[in-house]
């Protein structure tokens, strides 16, 4: 286990470094950052001035290493538009995004686990097929469109919930439902698949044969085993939600890092953009590391593989 853990940790560190290089280089190799900052009407001299002012004329490697060295000390530079530093900006917006993703995950699990168990129990009946159909339909909808439909229905028409901002917990309901809706299908399929497999296994037959109540067999014996990969995938889905937050937070004007990313990208505020890219990517690296370690700890077969 220790060997597996150390190997996995080493991979995570190498991936983390690679991701930091990509987060930094991305804006610089996509085009002329100085020209994009200067705007369309800027003269060549203006562009050159901006290039020097932001240190964009120095070799890329020098710029990257300087940024990385400071980033390791939690200094991600200064925003071009906000008075706060990038680190402070991200830290003040992060709680909103974490709340949103956390609620989204709770909603996703709340939909997918009962539905997945039900579909597995009623395998190949209309219940199973409707659950799968709902999953297929859900994944075909554009997430921003689903969000707008929620705004129209529950905000504008029924007036039940606020549709924009992040002042109270009520503001998080609609965006969290939207986020959860799109994370649910894959979790549901996994729950269903796991339950179908477990229900056919010998120890479940034994448990039934012992005369245990169906409820106990289902929830204490079957679900507990089927749920392991679902829990592991949940952490990955949580990471996906952080990156998916850019669309949902923009639709609902929720002041998290996704909305911050969209604002920064629109204004070419590159220190903020690369800071957020780095942070979200590192979050994902850590979450997948934890998921892999949890999986390996629970299932010895993975360690040897």
């Amino acid at each position: 286990m220790l060997r597996f853990g150390l190997k996995r940790l080493a991979l995570a560190i190498v991936v983390g470094v690679a991701v930091s290089a990509i987060a930094f280089m991305l804006l610089r190799v996509s085009g002329d950052l100085a020209a994009a900052l200067a705007g369309e009407d800027a003269s060549a001299a203006d562009v050159e001035r901006i290039r020097r002012e932001f240190g964009l004329d120095r070799p890329l490697v020098v710029q990257y290493l300087e940024w990385l060295f400071k980033a390791l000390q939690a200094d991600l530079g200064r925003s071009l538009f906000y008075p706060e530093s990038v680190s402070v900006l991200i830290l003040t917006r992060l709680p909103n995004t974490l709340t949103l993703a956390g609620l989204g995950l709770v909603i996703a699990l709340g939909i997918s686990i009962p539905l997945g168990v039900l579909a597995a129990l009623k395998r190949n009946t209309w219940v199973d097929r409707s659950a799968l159909g709902l999953a297929v339909l859900g994944q075909a909808m554009p997430n921003f469109w689903f969000g707008l439909l929620m705004i129209f229905l529950f905000g504008l028409t029924l007036g039940w919930l606020p549709v924009s901002g992040s002042d109270t917990l009520r503001h998080f309901v609609l965006p969290a439902v939207t986020l959860g809706w799109f994370a649910a299908p894959v979790l549901m399929r996994l729950t269903r698949g796991g339950m179908v497999e477990v229900l056919q296994s010998d120890y479940i037959r034994t448990a039934h044969a012992k005369g245990l109540p169906v409820r106990v067999v289902l929830f204490k014996h079957a679900l507990r085993n089927a749920i392991v990969p679902v829990v592991a995938l949940s952490s990955v889905q949580f990471g996906n939600m952080l990156s998916g937050s850019v669309v949902i937070e923009t639709v609902f004007a929720l002041q998290g890092i996704g909305y911050l990313a969209w604002e920064a990208i629109s204004r070419r505020d590159f220190p903020v953009v690369q800071g957020i890219l780095l942070m979200v990517a590192l979050f994902y690296v850590v979450l997948t590391l934890l998921a892999d370690l949890a999986n390996a700890w629970l299932d010895p077969r993975i360690r040897r593989g």
């Binding site: 690679a18 850019v246 890219l277």
Partner: protein, 292 residues
Amino acid sequence: MAATAAGPKVGKRRGRVLGNPGLIVSAVVLGAIVIMAVFAPLFAPYDPYAQILDDRLIPPAFIDAELADPRYLLGTDNLGRDYLSRLIYGARISLLIGFLTMLVSGVIGTAMGVAAGYFGGRVDTVVSFLVTTRLSLPVVMVALAVVAIAGGSLQVVVLVLGLLLWDRFAVVMRSATMQLRSLDYVAAARAIGASTPRVLLSEILPNLVSPLVVVASYEMAQAILLEAALSFLGLGVQPPLPSWGLMVAEAKEFMLFEPWMILLPGLAICILVLAINLLGDGIRDATAPEGR
């Protein structure tokens, strides 16, 4: 012998195709959308860019029969452009970006996956590392950032999405190739002295077609959804092109009184993505080994 052995198998496959209504319906729907997109000038009643400023924000008949105008079947937008014509031309953008992105990412991912699965060892380690790194990057944020600097054109969107969406191709092709590699006929081909490129091209690749089609359909659907999201956020295809995502964005400010303007392009995306996904599922079921 060979003929009798092949006979029932072919029949069974045909039975699987015909006995799968999802496959047939989705193929018909997708076919209809493709034909409509290719021959858009024949199907669209108006020029999708022509602004008739006297006829702005006319709702379709099924929304408001009194305000509707029989000349505009699905109404007009805030600039007096025929909504039906824009929706038809919008299918071109979605299909083109979806298809080209799928090609770019398919070539990258398949090359990586086959190499990793066939050669194993160090190649496999490098590919696994690249896949892990790619998965750590937030797709939408990266795509938005690149488009913001490089400019929102069709080519840029295809390129950035193509360079981001290859991971599933790589993962699936890797495991499929690993399975094929250990089979007797591949070993036989190598034993009679076939070169590595020859084994890859004539023994491995043809047998990867079925999983490839399934992943390709899924990725094409993903690319269409992502293009719509990028365009919706203003950093994808630029106006006045009738991208469905862009149409939703333009309709946002009229949401309160003209919600149908948001409903229609979203439904169009939904139907197209659903058709592609169901076609992929149907092909998977029809080609899967017995007993699955």
